[in-house]
């Protein structure tokens, strides 16, 4: 036999062999060996014997992270054998990393905070642990688990939530200019006109910009006020079109006239907008409750919801536990803690968040958040519209609202695009 041919053959087999092994490491779903752990074990065994380090991924940094770490410290104190390492990743970045890692049977962390719709999607693909026997759904704000539930299986647990209750103002600013919170829609419009006339004020309302969520929060507040929770749910489920007369009228008669009148600023990077609003360039800022932890003096904060508001968005952070964790029992234990007692600790910090676990009382809250918690408790809570739909449509929604904000006369284009891009069932 020709030696050259033999060597060449061996060489090629070697290359292919290594390539196949390496490819399997990066791509083959069938090579993944998910760890299986019964839910019963998770619930009953609370004291791990060996020292375990859990990796947690969340979107928080700065002051938000400080608040979250208070929760982690409490968990570590209760579980001396478990150490928690935290890493910050934005959900946008995780959405790129996680599908690939999961497909290859790997995970970057044991407990991961992520969008609700993403969790449901990954759960359906068989990458996540289930929580049906770990938490009691009756102990949570109604509807809060819907986003992370698919085919009756709960794939994620809710942590605390941000509410999007309305337009924030500085009490000192209102006192200085003789302004008072409105009680009717006409008074609200009159207030905006009055603010517009104040010298030095660039626009009555500052519009936050980022990837786009600040504008969707404002829009949802209008939908919930003039259409109610029912309309919001129907929009989420695709049962009502965006070009439906009921939806169109909310835009045409309420939001668009305000945009055309110049009551909203152009979108400004949302954290810069906080500073500009706080120093008086703008009078009102629609933002979630986390703003209480971003200002120098939270006692100077006042809140104006649109008169007649029927429901408010409650947007929780969700955690999931990938099947590929090396410490499934401990990871589930941490997730359960975050969904229950961890919430009590978190709302007591400057997180500006609200509990989704009903066993947390008003007394557990950080002082400036107690009033907000009472306001939110008096109205229905609704799921965040774009977070619930998710996917490509969510980005389209944000992007189209940015367009509407600067060109309100293109309402028809915006609504038809939102319908055209809505996920087909």
């Amino acid at each position: 036999m020709d030696v050259k041919k033999v060597l060449l053959g061996l060489f090629l087999v070697g290359v292919l062999g290594i390539a196949v092994v390496a490819s399997g490491c990066i791509g083959g779903q069938q090579t993944a060996t998910p760890t299986t752990v019964t839910q019963k074990e998770t619930v009953t065994e609370t004291k791990p014997v060996e020292q375990v380090t859990l990796k947690v991924i969340g979107p928080w940094s700065g002051a938000e992270l400080d608040a979250f770490m208070e929760v982690i410290k409490a968990f570590e104190a209760q579980h001396p054998n478990i150490k928690v390492e935290y890493k910050t990743y934005r959900a946008e970045d995780l959405s790129t990393i996680l599908p690939l890692q999961f497909e290859s049977g790997d995970t970057p962390a044991d407990v991961i905070a992520m969008w609700g719709w993403f969790i449901a999607e990954m759960g359906q693909k068989g990458h996540l642990m289930e929580f049906n026997e770990v938490i009691n759904p009756d102990e949570y704000v109604p509807g809060i688990l819907d986003t992370v539930t698919a085919d009756g299986k709960i794939y994620g647990v809710p942590f605390t939530a941000a509410a999007k209750p309305g337009f924030w103002y500085r009490k000192s600013f209102f006192e200085k200019h003789g302004l008072k919170p409105p009680e009717t829609w006409d008074e609200f419009v009159a207030l905006l006109e009055k603010i517009k006339q104040i010298p030095g004020v660039k626009a009555p309302i500052v519009s936050g910009d980022s990837v786009g969520w600040p504008l969707s929060d404002v829009t949802e507040h209008f939908i919930l006020t003039f259409g109610g929770k029912d309309l919001q749910l129907k929009l989420i489920n695709g049962e009502v079109k965006w070009e439906d007369p009921q939806v169109r009228s909310i835009f045409e008669q309420r939001l668009v006239p305000l945009l055309k009148a110049g009551y909203f600023s152009d979108p400004i990077e949302w954290t810069s907008a906080v500073d500009l609003w706080w120093k008086g360039d703008y009078a009102l800022y629609f933002m979630g409750t986390w703003i209480t932890g971003m200002v120098d003096d939270p006692t100077d904060l006042g809140l104006i919801s649109l008169p007649g508001v029927k429901a408010m968005v409650l947007a929780p952070d969700y955690f999931m536990v990938p099947k590929y964790t090396s410490h499934p029992k401990e990871a589930m234990e941490l997730a359960k803690f975050l969904a229950t007692e961890g919430q009590r600790i978190h709302v007591g910090t400057k997180s500006g968040k609200l509990a989704t676990w009903k066993k947390v009382s008003i007394d557990d809250y950080w002082e400036p958040m107690k009033d907000v918690a009472k306001v939110v408790a008096n109205v229905e809570s609704a799921p965040d519209l774009d977070d619930s739909v998710g996917g490509e449509w969510q980005k389209t929604f944000w992007d189209q609202l940015k367009l509407l904000w600067v060109q309100p006369n293109r309402l028809d284009d915006v609504l038809s695009t939102l319908d055209a891009k809505f996920p087909k069932k």
Partner: protein
């Protein structure tokens, strides 16, 4: 035992092949394979048809009579049409201006211009975002000073200006590369050529046209090809500066690919855009290779 001589190169190639096969060759073929499937079924060219006929990729209803969005592919072409000549000629102009040693501070000026190339693209995108923001940015401030109120706005917020803000900003980022290449090219031209041209009575324009420009041709080929590649695969700058908006007015192919992949979780459509993008980038890449040969 002595190893046959002709197999020696293959053994040297082995480490590279071991890395190339799983990390480059396999993903390339897998991507092409994925582009012909949808929900696990072979669909032929259906995915290509869907993607290419989508107004997100080519929007002939709006192009060229109305303001963007014109579709990601057209935005990339517009990007090339503006960015390519601007960076080539700006880089050449600056290199020519600063080539003489007697120009004081030329190295400092070059360093400042090259800064755009050194900073991460994400930071570049952020700078562009603030550069064009009303109230914080220098560009709207200049237009306000000139009394052109229509342009004294947040450029990235308006569909008419968002794409151009990203393109203009990227000219600043990329001009440093062009300038550096031309500076190196100019330094390699022997002074004798210029002296001979002067003795023959050539004026400055004739010297540039007949000596400098022809001798810089290999550099121009590299600059043009690299700029084309950069323009086609532009992602980070747009992602940070505008996010492709508003209303898709600054969407580009690479970002659309990411949207399909990470937002829609539609790996098949993402693969289609990836294949198209690869095919488009192969054109300047092959042209460059042939010219250099």
């Amino acid at each position: 035992m002595r190893r046959p001589k002709s197999l020696t190169p293959l053994f040297f190639l082995l480490p590279a092949l071991v890395l190339m096969v799983p990390f480059v060759i396999y993903p390339v073929f897998k991507t092409i394979y994925l582009s012909f499937f949808l929900d696990g079924k072979f669909v032929g060219l259906e995915n290509y048809k869907e993607v290419l006929l989508s107004p997100d990729i080519v929007n002939l209803d709006r192009f060229p009579t109305k303001s963007p969005p014109w579709g990601a592919l057209i935005h990339n072409i517009v990007w090339i049409a503006i960015h390519l000549p601007a960076t080539v000629f700006l880089g050449l102009g600056i290199a020519l201006l600063l080539r003489r040693e007697e120009v004081k501070g030329s190295s400092i000026v070059k360093s400042i211009i090259f800064l755009g190339m050194v900073i991460p693209m994400i930071v570049g995108g952020l700078i562009i975002r603030f550069l064009f923001e009303e109230g914080a940015g220098v560009i709207p401030a200049i237009f306000k000073l000139l009394g052109i109120e229509r342009l004294a706005i947040t450029w990235t917020a308006y569909p008419e200006t968002a794409l151009f803000a990203a393109i203009l900003g990227s000219i600043w980022i990329w001009t440093g590369f062009s300038m550096l290449m031309y500076s190196a090219g100019l330094a390699s031209i022997p002074k004798d050529y210029y002296e001979a041209a002067l003795i023959d009575g050539a004026n400055k324009f004739q010297i540039f046209k007949n000596v400098t420009w022809p001798l810089l041709k290999p550099i121009t080929v590299v600059v043009v090809a690299m700029t084309l590649l950069w323009d086609l695969k532009i992602f980070d700058v747009v992602y940070v500066a505008t996010g492709g908006g508003p209303g898709g007015a600054s969407m580009v192919l690479a970002l659309k690919m990411w949207d399909y992949f990470a937002r829609a979780l539609n790996y098949n459509y993402a693969a289609v855009v990836a294949v198209l993008l690869t095919a488009l980038t192969l054109i300047p890449a092959l042209w460059l290779i042939r010219r250099r040969e």
